[in-house]
Structures are given as C-alpha cells and as structure tokens.
Symmetry: C2
Subunit: 177 residues, 2 copies
C-alpha cells in the first residue's frame, strides 16, 4: 500500500555520500555536504526503516503518530490533531481519512461546533498501536543505532535544538518574499 520496500531494498543507495577531505572550495558546493541534503536522506532512511520494521502492518510514521496522540488525549478536532503531529491541516485530513477507511479512527461532526470533525480512536486503532509500538521503537533504535550513547544524546539534543529554534523562526513574520 505505497511504502513497502521489502527484501530487495530500493532504499536506493545514493551517491554513497562520502567524499574524502578535498572539498572546501565553496561552502555547500557538493551535495553531500549540504545539511539539507543529509537531513532529507536521513528522513528517507527513517521512513524505510519504519516500513521494514512494521512488516505487514502497512502503517506510516505519520499515521502512527496520529494514532499515538489520539491514544493519550482522546478525542480531537482535525486541526488540533494535525498540528499536534506537525503537519498542516490538509495533509492531516488526508491521513485521517485513510485511517478512518481502515477503521482505526472515527470522524463525527461536533455537537457544539458543526464545522469541526471530532476524531476518536477505535478499539481496532488501539490494538494497532499496541502491536506497532515495539516495531516503531525498533525502527528508532536502528536509525540512531550507529551512534554510541554519548553521540546519541548529543545528536538528539542538537536536532531538538534546531527543530525548536526554527519552529520559532517559521512563525516569525520574516516578511519578504
């Protein structure tokens, strides 16, 4: 159902992003040294690892994120749910519609606000979360597995710092363009 990747990986192999030391001329001349490129590749890798670990469940990281948020807070409108996993509302609506189609959530109009759709997780959805949680954890472990404990902490600290800081930046006016 979209992702899958199974055996004969096709998580491509890229340019084997390692070039010795000889680079330096202009800062981001080579693709393999651009932070954005590395982040995109790492994201791809995570999606691949997640799909691999989740075997036959056919669930994506974002779908699982939605389900885990619902399992804590229970009951949310689409917009709140979407922003709480860090995607915009139209993307969220798509993801949630797919989850509904599979019986993992319900979408009912709210009583006191007939514009809003209230999303609730179903038993089927909860079962799915229980089943997939350990697979998700394995994917996370594999993603940062190549780092030792100290590096892991440092990596997570730095990524969090970047995400939080740029989160602010993106909500700032910044005008231009």
């Amino acid at each position: 159902m979209g992702i899958k990747m199974s055996k004969r990986q096709s998580m491509n192999d890229g340019p084997t992003p390692m070039r010795p030391g000889k680079a330096k001329s202009r800062k981001y001349r080579e693709l393999w040294k651009r932070p954005g490129y590395l982040v995109r590749r790492l994201h791809q890798i995570h999606v691949g690892l997640f799909a691999e670990e989740c075997g036959g469940e056919d669930l994506t990281p974002v779908q699982f994120g939605i389900l885990t948020v619902l399992q804590n807070g229970e009951e949310m409108d689409q917009l709140t749910l979407s922003t709480s996993v860090g995607i915009d509302r139209t993307s969220g609506a798509d993801v949630i519609r797919r989850l509904e189609r599979r019986g993992y959530v319900t979408r009912d109009a709210s009583d006191h606000d007939r514009r809003a759709k209230i999303i609730r997780i179903t038993h089927l959805g909860k079962d799915c979360v229980s089943r997939v949680r350990p697979m998700m954890a394995r994917a996370q472990e594999r993603l940062i597995g190549p780092l030792d404990d100290q590096e892991r902490d440092e990596f997570l600290r730095l990524v969090e710092k970047l995400v939080n800081a740029n989160n602010e930046a993106s909500r700032a006016p910044l005008g231009t363009v």
Copy 2:
C-alpha cells in the same frame, strides 16, 4: 507551483516540540522524543526555508540537487542521475520531466543504448543554478544557524555518520520484512 509558503507561513507550528523533563516511562512514548519525528520535522523545516529563500524561483531542493549534479558531470542517464541525488528512478523521472518542461534540461535518447535517456543541462538551467546557489546557501545557513560552530561540526559529523551507516544497512539483505 506547489511549494511556496510565502508570507503567512504555514510551515505549521507543530506541537512546539518541547516538554520539560518529566518524560521517561517508556523510551519513545512521546512523539517529541522520537528521533524519526525530529528528523521529519527538520526535513519539513528545510523544505520550508529553501522555498522561502528561493523566493520566486519556484525550485525545490531536489530539483536544485539534480541541476547541480548535472553542472558538474554533464550528461547522464536518468537512473545514474536519480541515484546520485538519492532518490529512486521513478521519482527521478518525475523530477527530471518537470525540469525539462521548464527548459532547464534536455532528455534525448542515447545513441549507443536506445533504452537510456541522456539528460543534459541547458543554458537556462545553468543560469538558474547560478542565480539560486546563494539562496540555497542561505537556506542551509538558516537551517543550522541556531547551532554554534562547534555544535554545527558535531551535528554534521553525526548526521553524516547516520546516513552513511544506514545506507549500508539498507543495502544489506536483512531479508525478513
């Protein structure tokens, strides 16, 4: 033309991924601590910053990646080009087709291998790269801007390590599914 994002940002704002210290129960219980989630958010942020910096050029990071690879090596078949920027061949074919539509590259059948399409960058494409390169650099700077010099080096080292290591992992048999 798709991405854009302009003024009233909508690079969403997410859950403001910071929760004090109280988390710990199970390793990846909270979304905001999952490495995969953080990497996905950072990727989103980069795409947003890139679009913002590239103003009216309407070029995506991947499109720019393709163009810069072409500007170095000149002339490549679609498959080599796709893997050299780290995407699979069908995605690459899509991207390249769009670049062709805008006159940035040409796609001609090869003489000695009539299966292959040979991609070449045009003058228009080269002009575009010159124009966009400084914008791309600014996006990269902004992405890792929140880190000091020492952290930056460490972050890039760790991400590179993860990408390289998992690159290997994904080409390993690993069978299962």
